[in-house]
Every structure is written in structure tokens, then in C-alpha cells.
Symmetry: C2
């Protein structure tokens, strides 16, 4: 049999050999019998034959009278026929054909006489207006062949054909064992070092979408005996067993060892990123998978290795992935030797599909939540350049992408409120914003990679915002600068200001922990300007190189007592209940290229900018002044 | 308020006015709070904000040591640093950053000394290799905006953000009241006049697919007081109430009357076919729908009227229907004044999408089961001609249609077995066969509307099968005739042969009920030939004009004692346990156009024709002789 592979193995080889081995060991779909009425979406395990005819009796297809057709032979307008009461029976649609009758005459074609008789002026053909036995389904007829997905209509046909129970492919049962001393059940109040166990919720939802039954076992600590016991239980109860594997090589990790006591490890480590610490093992015909604990790694391993197994066991056709070519808006560096799965946000800008890489850390679960697609960098490639056209596996339907506004630029929590109002007012429209700072936004607009950019760039010489930057960086023009809000920038400080910080000069004090914003962000440019203004040497500030990408991240670090001060907007300070020393009011505008101006969704956005609902949200956030939002401040 | 509309109303007007009125009356989506872990596929009712940061503590992103970065300043290869045990802490990936430390050095970058100290040859920057608080999600950040469908990944993000419960749009509860004295619960042994109540199973499955909760009430008879009572209960328990309406105008139908005692009927009758007897009513903001009892009518009314209401109440975007242009293979006559919904089977023949209308009766539930698409004939049109290009709403994905073999021609239950074997061997491939008789098949091949046709056409002059018909009807050639099976034709007779029928001459006997096959079928041609041969005047046979389309239908009528005799194949007689008087063995061939010959699925089919599995199935059916199946008997 196959021997343990400890090197990182190419995922396609690993997947193929693993599944092949499992099949050789007898892994095969199971069947079960269930009530037909509950079978929607399931797959037939064998051909389904009708047991009875549908309809099972000859029935009138019309309202009218039933009679023996022979009586009417020779009847015409000129030689009419008069039927006595005993000659016919009245029938409604659906009534059984009375004995002795072989034809139906429609109510519209009979003349009721005053004496109770019925007058006919035409002969009737036998079997006219009769629903024949078996018109819909004949007994013994094959209603559905094997391995067919059951629709609601097929359920009706099967029940009509007298089939009350059917054999279907059983849903594979997948058991997940969350393992790790650091894991705790979800709570809003975790202690330092506690890790919320939410992988089971993600995996269960994925598995159910794919047609499996998901079972989650209680969290088990890193203790060999306990792990072995729950593994044994899971193996006896499930068709497939998943267990958390490690996130590090140095960690005391019992997963592979524990699996080895009960099964065989085929691969320990895959040549993929994220997802490297995966373990592919088995016990007889049952797969046992070690799933890396970081959620993104886990999701990728489950999708790459487990999904095809579930498709096999549930007799579903492999999902037909859709791909599209997109222009990469940011370079991606990837390690040779690993197939890397890059999550990207996408949007159509000027008929060009743009893909923007999202956070790549294997702990960044939001990167999957926000992703519209996945780029796979092959094992022998070192990445892609900004501007490259790459093939993207789509997670979002192309039609939906056409209804997305791509916002790239400076961060403000107000943008999320704008996005919420857009969805509330205009349904499926979405505003996907990437926070790369004001300069990043300006460049994205110049390159034709965004529909709008939030920017707040202070020109030190003029004290004016944004216009001179546009003139300099977008000399060709073709853009409009739209007024959005004025907002208050200042120093965000720990609640109660325990360090007694009064302003910029205090930032170089010993023991004071500052947290900075990234280069190219409007707030960083403001910070540099303020340092210059107050004569501070920035490199003397502890934390000058500690860079965060949003006001919220800076505020979060201060609120968590990981830093003492940071420059940011009032609304972020307010959300985190921080102290705040105002520094200046600045102009936050939206930069919109002409090609995006006439898009209906852009017009929707501009309407919302001017709405009372938006003003109300700004009021709740705090620190904003609204002038004439939506007005064109500058056009070139 | 709106008054009762008794005329048949245009469906678009009716739908729009009905939904508008319901909204005016206060119909609106409801919300409920559920555990986040169970929210996959649901829609957010409000923006979801994170409650905590994820990660909620600064953590090591590597295995290595944590220390105060200041200690390392100035360290180089030439001026290395030696750390004592108290100067650093060992950390694994995911461990919290120890107090007093602000940097991590990777295990790979440290040198362990024999004396227990650690040697460094580089300085470390503060905050390197540290997963910052809020790296994935910041507290107070908007994780999802309103009205967003929740993915498994979003569940992970919300739980990571400390959100254990969320407000989602409540699934609307739809109650269905099956009504009618003739209805009985599904059974394989219904009496004459009993109608199996399977509509509830179809409707529930459809409703659940659309995201509603479905409740079925017990069957209620046509009794005003009983109906009113269950209507009241359903209205108090559900958001939407459905009740069976009539199938005929003459029927004693309490539906509209009963609804009127408890609500208001807005429309009684729609200008659609099937679906005319629909009732659109309401009680305050709750829709009450009278659903025609015939399943196809019911399905169409539910899809046309109820689906948009459910989409509104569950805040789902209306399903984006896909359409394709297809060539109609058969003319469709439609009544002016009604919008007609025609179910069609579809397939790609020679890159041309062909649509073949299916049984149009409103009781033919299999027409929906078999349908790949729906053609809507507008109210002011009288139908379409054979060969017309029509727009079809797709029920099957185009890719799947590309994997379907279109078989049009003579019926044989063996074709279903072939189809089952195809699916078993080759997965999602399907064989969609329309039973239009041998001549119909021949013509379909000539017109380029089918991939294969089963034919068994006897040339009276030569006694040979099929070849002369091909020469005559497909003079241009481009086809191959493939040997399939020899099968035994004969008279199928009631079990025990109570009428003592010995052969064709008996068929004209008084009181003997014959059932015939349709004109153009090979069996009908054989029947005409045998009548001529035995000198029988066919018009003297009672039932000569009673035409059925398959051997199974003929056999089913005889087995049900609705007829005494019919010409058909042995396998059908055997399935129904009928007596059988053999008449002749005939050649049943497959006619395949050259353009379909090289299709991989055609080659799969030919392989199966030659397989032992197929021979075994034929043996079980009985009455077949197999020579060299798959061999080309004739090519032109």
C-alpha cells in the first residue's frame, strides 16, 4: 500500500491518488429509502418505475354528458337526436367515465329542452373528451433513470405513479472534530490566547451546501488519549472524519500521530498556500482529513480535497466552475513550489473586469467573505504583475459583478453606511471598497480600475484638498471631483487620556506608543505635514513604522491598549469610546471618472449622498459636516 | 378598494395589481433573530457590525521568540547579540504576544548556543511577524450590509467578530389546504374516482426551493363550514394561504365563496393556460390564492403569482431567468385570449437548439418533469409554426442540454433501459426520447431535429424493414441505419383471454374493444398491413379510432379492462401480465444522421448497445432477440 509522504505534495497528484486509493479500499456511495414527498433535490439510486397508471381510471375531460357514442350515429342538424334522462349521465371534469359510456359531449354542445330531454345536432366520436387511463404515466413505465436529481415535478409524477418511497443516494455524513487547547466555543468575551472555534460553523455550512450531512463533535484538547477516543467514535458514526490539524510546525501537534494510531496517513503536508499543513489519511474506505486550523487554509483544503469526495459519494456531477479573464490591479508575489489560492474582489470598470487581491493571510476569513473570485498561481510561477490578464474562478455571478461599484481609495466607516443605504434602496447593488489610501485611489482611477475613490489629500502649499493632486497625477483629465463630507481629524487617545497627551509634541515622549497609517494614505500625508509644522522628527516617535490601513484598525489597537495614540477621524474614536484631540477639519471627496458618471448605480449613489438618510447616519457616526454632497467641486 | 374581477384577466396586470394592493395593505418582509451558525443562505435584515476584534489579541505569526525590539538595536553579523533566558520568550504561531515584547524573531533566524543563550546577528523591527489586533476584523466595523445573502465564510467572519445571533429576514410561511371530496392521501391502490393528493408534495418542494416554509393542512372536503374553519386556522398560522380551487366551471366549487366569507377575492380566473381557474384573494395584508387542482395549472399559478410574492417577502432578488432561441420541431396552436405556457424538451442537434412541445394537458405532470424549457405564447397570438425560432425560458442549463441525446421516433420500453444504462455508465448524459412513431422519427432525422430515431417500418412489398423508407424519405442521404433488436409483435389480450381471441379476424367481433396505435407509427403500419393481409375492413373494428402513442399505453388500457385487445410488443404485454398472441418478429433499428455519429455520447450509446448489461436488461423485459447490435445495416 501507499507509504507516508512527508514532503509537501502537489495537490492534483495528492487528490487523485488519495481518491483512487479510497475507491480501491471500497469507498462507494450508499443508498437509503425515503418517502418520495421528501426527496426533492436528492438523487435516485436506481431507476424508478411507476406502480399504477395516472390517471388510474378513465375520466371526463370536460363538463357535459357521458353516453354510448353509438346512440348518436347519424345525428345531424337536420336529423337531431333527443336523449331521454336514462340515455346519458351528467359529468363534470375529472369525474370517472360512467359504465356503459364511451364518449363525452361538452355542455356547450347540448341543448336542454323544456321537457328535460337533451337535444343533440351532431354525432359524437367514441373516446372524445376522455382522459384515458395512463394518459400521464403508465404503470411499469420508467419515471426516472438512475442517478437523476429529483425535481418537485418528479415528486408529483412519482406519487401519481403510486411510488410512495424511493431509493436515493444517502447524504455522506461528515464529522468534524475541533482540536486544540486554545479553542473555546464562540463568545463575545474571549480571554487573551483564547481562539473562538468558528471553523465548524463555516465547514458545516459549506458541507450542507454540497449535499452532505455535517456533525460537529465537542472541542477536544491536545491530549493523545482523548483525541484517539473521539476519532474512534467519529469513525464509527460518520463516512468522513475531519480533525483540526496544526497551524505551525513547532506546535505540539497530535493530529498526524493520533490519526496514525487508528488509520494510515497518506500525505502530511500539501504544496499549497494557504493550506500547507493538511493531512490526508484514511481508515479502510473512510477518509480522515487533518484540516489546518486557520480558517482560510481550512476552507481551501476542504474545497480542494473534500468536495470531490462528497460529489463522488453523493453522485453529484462535479460543480461546473465558471472562469473569467480579469485584469489584476495589484501585483501578486507567490512562492515557487506552492500552488497559491489568491482571493480577489472583482468589478467591471469600463467593460474591463478588474480583480483586486484581498488580504492573503490564512487567518483572514473576511478575504473569503469579500471574494468574488479565486486566482490560482501555479506551483512553478512566482506570481503575476499588476496589469496582467489572469483567469479567475468566479464565486460571484458575472451579472452581479456588473451591478457592483468598485471603490478604491481612502477608508471611512461612512462608506459602509453608504453601501448599506445603497442595498436598502436599490436591492442587489453593492459597493465593494478596498482601502488603499487616497493616493492608491487616485492611481486606481487613473488606471481605469475603479468607479470611484474616496480621497482627502492636503496640498501643503495651498492648504487646499485634492484638486492639485488630480491635476498632477491625472493630467489627461476625464474625471469629476464630487463633494462628499468634511470630517474632523485628530489624535485618538486611550479612554481618559492616561498619558495626558495634549498634541503632536507629546508623541516623541518616552514609553508612548504611537500607531501610524500606511504611506500614501491621506491621513499619513496629514501626519507628515503636522510633524513638519510642529518641528517633530517622526523617527523619534515609537511606533512610527507600525502601519495600519484604516482608522478603525488604529482605533482598535488604542482601545485594546496595544497603543496610546494615533491620528484618525472623530467617528472612529467615537465608535471605540476613545479620547480625541481635534487637529483639523478636512475635505473628503469622491473622485469619479467620466466613464462611470452615467452608470445608473452611480446616479443612485449620488442620490443617496444627498439623502436625509445619509445625513442621519453621519449624525450618528459623529464628526462630519455636510455641505453640498454630490456637487461637482472640480472637473477636468 | 379594488372590486371583484370575474373575467379572465391578463396575468401581468393581475400580478402587478395584486401585489401592489397587498403592499398597500401592509404586506412586508418580517425579521427574526437566529444563531449566526445557522444562518447560511439567509438574508441579513440589518447591517451586521462586529462586536470584538479578530484577532482580539496580538499574536505571534511565526514559531520563534518574542522580545523587546530595543534590545536588538545595532545588532549585526559582526556585532552579534547574545540573549539570556530572561530576555526572550519562546512562542509558537498563534500564541499571544507576551507582555513587554513588541517583536517576533523567526525560529529560522536564531542560533541556539550550547550554554542555553540565543545568538542573533540582525536587529529586529518592532511589530514584525505579529498578527495585529483587528487584522481580520475591527470591532464596530460593518461586516455585512443589509439584505445580503449569508455565505459560510460570512458566518465565520461574524462569529470571529463576536456576533453570535443575527437578525435575518424570516422565511414566509405558506400554508396549503388541499380541498376536494375526490382527494385521498397518496396510496398505490386508489379506487375509481379517487384522486391522489400529490399537489402538496410538489408545491412544498417548490416553495422550499424558493426559501419559504411550507405547511400542508389535512385534506378538506367540499363543505363550506369545514373549509371556512381551516381557512381561518391557516390564516392565523401562515403568511400566505393556498387552497385548491376547481378544475371545471360547472363543478360545485366552494373555494371562491369560502374565501369571500373571510377575505376579498380580487381576481377569479386568469387569462392563462393552463391555470385559468386561479383565484387571487387576500385578507388584510395576507395573500389567499385559489390554486387550480390539476397539477400543471397549479404549478404555473404558483410560479407566476406566488413566487414573486415570496421573493418580495424573503428579500431575494427575483430569479434571473435564462432564455435561449430554439427551433420548434412541432407546430403549436394556442387559443387567442390566453397566454399559454408550453413545456418543451430541448436538445442541441448539429449546433441548433431544438424545442419539442410536450403533452399540453393540465393534468400531465410529467410534462413539467421532462421539460427543459417553457415557451410562452402571448395572449394575442394563435401559436407558432413548426420551424419557427422561438424564445424559450430555460429550466435546464444549456451545458446540460449539450450532453443530451435527442431521440425522436418509435417507442420501446427498452429505450428507457438504454437511457438508464447511459446515466449509470456516463454520469450526467441523458437520452430524451419523444414517442412520435417511426415515421415521425424518420422525418425528425431528415429535418435535422434529432440525434437518433428508433424505427421499425415494414415494406409491404419486400417484407424488409426500414431501408426502403429511408431511401424514399431521406433521398439526400447522410444517415446510418444501426441494428438494434428484433422484437416480437402480437395481439396483447386481457389476462386469461376471456374473449377467446385467436387472431386478427376476431377483432371485428361485436362487443370487442380494440385500442389502436397512432397513424405513422410502425405498429400502426403493421396493423394496416395485417388487416389487409387477413381481409379485414378496419373501420368495422370498434376502437379503430382510439389511438394511443405507446405500447405501454395500449397495454395499460387492456390491463385496466378499458379495452380487450391491441397490437403491441411482447415486452409490454409481459410487463402488464397480459395474454399475448404472437404475430411476427420485426426489426427495430436506430437511424442516426452522420453529423451525430462522431459525438462522444453517441459512441457511448453504441458501446452500451453492445454491452452485456444491455442484453441482460432485454432478457428481463422479454421478447427481444439480439443479433449484432450497433452494426451499420445500411448507409446512404
Amino acid at each position: 500500500m501507499a507509504s507516508l509522504q512527508t514532503e509537501n505534495t502537489d495537490i492534483n497528484t495528492a487528490r487523485q491518488k488519495y481518491i483512487e486509493l479510497l475507491k480501491q479500499n471500497g469507498m462507494t456511495p450508499k443508498t437509503e429509502t425515503i418517502p418520495t414527498a421528501e426527496a426533492s433535490g436528492r438523487v435516485t439510486a436506481a431507476p424508478i418505475y411507476a406502480r399504477i397508471n395516472a390517471p388510474h381510471y378513465s375520466a371526463s375531460a370536460m363538463d357535459g354528458i357521458a353516453l354510448d357514442a353509438k346512440l348518436t350515429y347519424g345525428t345531424t342538424e337536420t336529423t337531431p337526436l333527443f336523449l331521454d334522462i336514462g340515455d346519458y349521465k351528467r359529468v363534470d371534469t375529472g369525474d370517472p367515465l360512467p359504465d356503459g359510456c364511451d364518449t363525452i359531449i361538452m355542455a356547450e354542445d347540448i341543448i336542454e329542452m323544456a321537457d328535460g330531454r337533451i337535444k343533440l345536432t351532431n354525432s359524437a366520436a367514441p373516446w372524445q373528451h376522455i382522459r384515458q387511463i395512463g394518459e400521464d404515466i403508465c404503470a411499469h413505465e420508467m419515471i426516472l433513470p438512475s442517478y437523476t436529481r429529483i425535481t418537485p415535478y418528479a415528486i408529483g409524477a412519482m406519487i401519481a405513479g403510486g411510488v410512495a418511497d424511493i431509493a436515493v443516494i444517502k447524504k455522506p455524513i461528515v464529522g468534524f472534530i475541533p482540536k486544540g487547547n486554545e479553542l473555546i466555543p464562540p463568545t463575545a468575551d474571549p480571554g487573551k490566547g483564547d481562539v473562538l472555534e468558528f471553523n465548524s460553523a463555516i465547514f458545516s455550512a459549506m458541507l450542507r451546501e454540497w449535499g452532505a450531512d455535517a456533525v460537529t463533535y465537542p472541542i477536544v484538547g491536545d491530549d493523545a488519549a482523548g483525541i484517539r477516543q473521539v476519532l474512534e467514535t467519529a469513525l464509527s458514526e460518520c463516512d468522513i472524519v475531519l480533525m483540526s490539524a496544526g497551524i505551525s510546525s513547532n506546535n505540539e501537534d497530535y493530529t498526524a500521530a493520533a490519526i496514525s494510531t487508528i488509520g494510515t496517513v497518506l500525505y502530511d503536508g500539501l504544496a499549497i498556500k494557504p493550506g500547507k499543513p493538511a493531512i490526508l489519511a484514511y481508515s479502510d474506505s473512510k477518509p480522515i482529513l487533518g484540516i489546518p486550523r486557520y480558517p482560510v487554509s481550512g476552507i481551501i483544503v476542504i474545497e480542494q480535497i473534500l468536495k470531490p469526495i462528497i460529489e463522488f459519494l453523493s453522485h453529484s456531477a462535479p460543480e461546473a466552475y465558471r472562469y473569467a479573464d480579469a485584469v489584476l490591479s495589484k501585483s501578486v508575489v507567490s512562492a515557487i513550489g506552492y500552488r497559491e489560492f489568491i482571493r480577489v474582489r472583482m468589478g467591471y470598470v469600463k467593460d474591463k473586469l478588474i480583480a483586486t487581491p484581498l488580504g492573503r493571510g490564512s487567518g483572514i476569513v473576511t478575504s473569503f467573505m469579500k471574494a468574488d473570485g479565486i486566482i490560482e498561481v501555479p506551483q512553478d510561477a512566482d506570481g503575476y504583475e499588476n496589469g496582467d490578464v489572469v483567469s479567475v474562478r468566479l464565486l460571484t455571478h458575472v451579472d452581479e459583478l456588473k451591478h457592483s461599484l468598485v471603490a478604491i481609495g481612502s477608508h471611512d466607516p461612512m462608506l459602509d453606511e453608504l453601501s448599506d443605504l445603497l442595498r436598502k434602496e436599490h436591492g442587489s447593488i453593492s459597493l465593494a471598497s478596498a482601502h488603499v489610501g487616497s493616493m492608491g485611489g487616485l492611481i486606481a482611477i487613473r488606471r481605469g480600475e475603479a468607479h470611484l475613490a474616496g480621497i482627502h489629500l492636503l496640498d501643503e502649499d495651498t492648504g487646499e484638498y485634492n484638486v492639485s493632486f488630480i491635476k498632477k497625477h491625472i493630467p489627461k483629465g476625464g474625471v469629476r471631483l464630487i463633494e462628499c463630507v468634511k470630517r474632523t481629524q485628530g489624535l485618538m487617545l486611550r479612554k481618559g487620556n492616561p498619558m495626558n497627551i495634549k498634541g503632536f509634541p507629546d508623541l516623541t515622549r518616552n514609553k508612548l506608543r504611537y500607531v501610524n497609517r500606511q504611506k500614501g494614505s491621506g491621513t499619513r500625508i496629514l501626519f507628515d505635514y503636522l510633524c513638519g509644522n510642529t518641528g517633530i522628527e517622526p523617527s523619534l516617535i515609537y511606533g512610527f513604522n507600525r502601519e495600519e490601513y484604516t482608522h478603525m484598525s488604529v482605533a482598535a489597537l488604542i482601545a485594546a491598549d496595544s497603543a496610546d495614540a494615533g491620528l484618525g477621524i472623530y467617528s472612529a474614536a467615537k465608535l471605540y469610546d476613545l479620547d480625541f484631540v481635534p487637529v483639523c477639519d478636512e475635505q473628503y471627496d469622491l473622485l469619479i471618472p467620466d466613464h462611470a458618471w452615467d452608470m445608473p448605480i452611480m446616479q443612485n449613489l449620488l442620490e443617496i449622498l444627498q439623502s436625509n438618510a445619509f445625513r442621519q447616519r453621519l449624525g450618528e457616526l459623529g464628526g462630519y459636516t455636510v455641505g453640498k454632497p454630490g456637487e461637482v467641486r472640480f472637473r477636468t
